[in-house]
Symmetry: C2
Subunit: 149 residues, 2 copies
């Protein structure tokens, strides 16, 4: 099966399949005489696995681990569970941060007249917030989720 067909069947774009191969997430695909990549149903199965893991927000490094465990018949489910739980925790941290932003903004927006007048608590808050901590260490969450595709 050509890469295009594999892409359509797995839901992973051809671009990304090549990228996954190049970055070592999946082994190099076999090639036809003409140099075209050739995929088996098993390969497509694996690509689908990867896509679903990404849909759940797993980072590449986590997917590498999950793939390894998936292939390993003697794996221990505790290892998988650990990865999943760590990821859930990371997601929840991220959610909390976003929720805090949303709450703050929603409150400010609520207080804003939203009319033709220039006075605006939102801008005031950006100008001189109550709880400002300049140059301090704030939560540097980092890389938890895209939801793309």
């Amino acid at each position: 099966m050509n890469i295009g067909q594999a892409a359509r069947t797995s839901g992973v774009s051809a671009k990304m399949i090549r990228y996954y191969e190049q970055s070592g997430l999946i082994p190099p695909a076999g090639r036809t005489g003409a140099g075209y990549r050739d995929y088996s149903d098993k390969d497509v199965h694996e690509l689908r696995f990867i896509r679903r893991a990404r849909d759940l927000g797993f980072a590449t490094t986590e997917i590498v681990e999950l793939l390894g465990l998936w292939r390993d018949r003697s794996r221990q489910s505790a290892d998988v569970k650990r990865i999943a739980e760590n990821h859930v925790a990371a997601l929840q941290t991220k959610i909390r941060e976003l929720q805090e932003m949303a709450d703050t903004l929603a409150e400010l927006a609520h207080c804003c007249h939203g009319d033709h007048r220039p006075d605006c608590p939102i801008l005031e808050r950006l100008e001189t917030p109550e709880n400002d901590t300049p140059a301090t260490i704030r939560p540097r969450s980092g890389a938890v989720a895209r939801s793309r595709r």
Copy 2:
């Protein structure tokens, strides 16, 4: 004031100040005879404004708008409110997506024994999920928030 001092005072790293200048978010800073960038208290004030907007998760394009409104004495608070409310909506969409991921994963993890045995509902779900929609259009949220710093 040198860029280092401006960075410390505003809470925006010197790297990012140069980046903001280069990308047009802020006007080019004045220069001393030696070519050093020179910042006024007003500039620092603006940098702080930017940092706070970023802390609330606003995208660069939104910050450009907010800065424009901030500088415009004849602005209408409705414009600011609109931007803020759009952003809140975007944040909440993002939050919903992440929450969905977290819920799914938490449930799977809950069902996983987490012991030495290989059987694992998490891997099973990644292999053959119930609701799979391969090659369809899924939410491409995109660019709603970093929470960095």
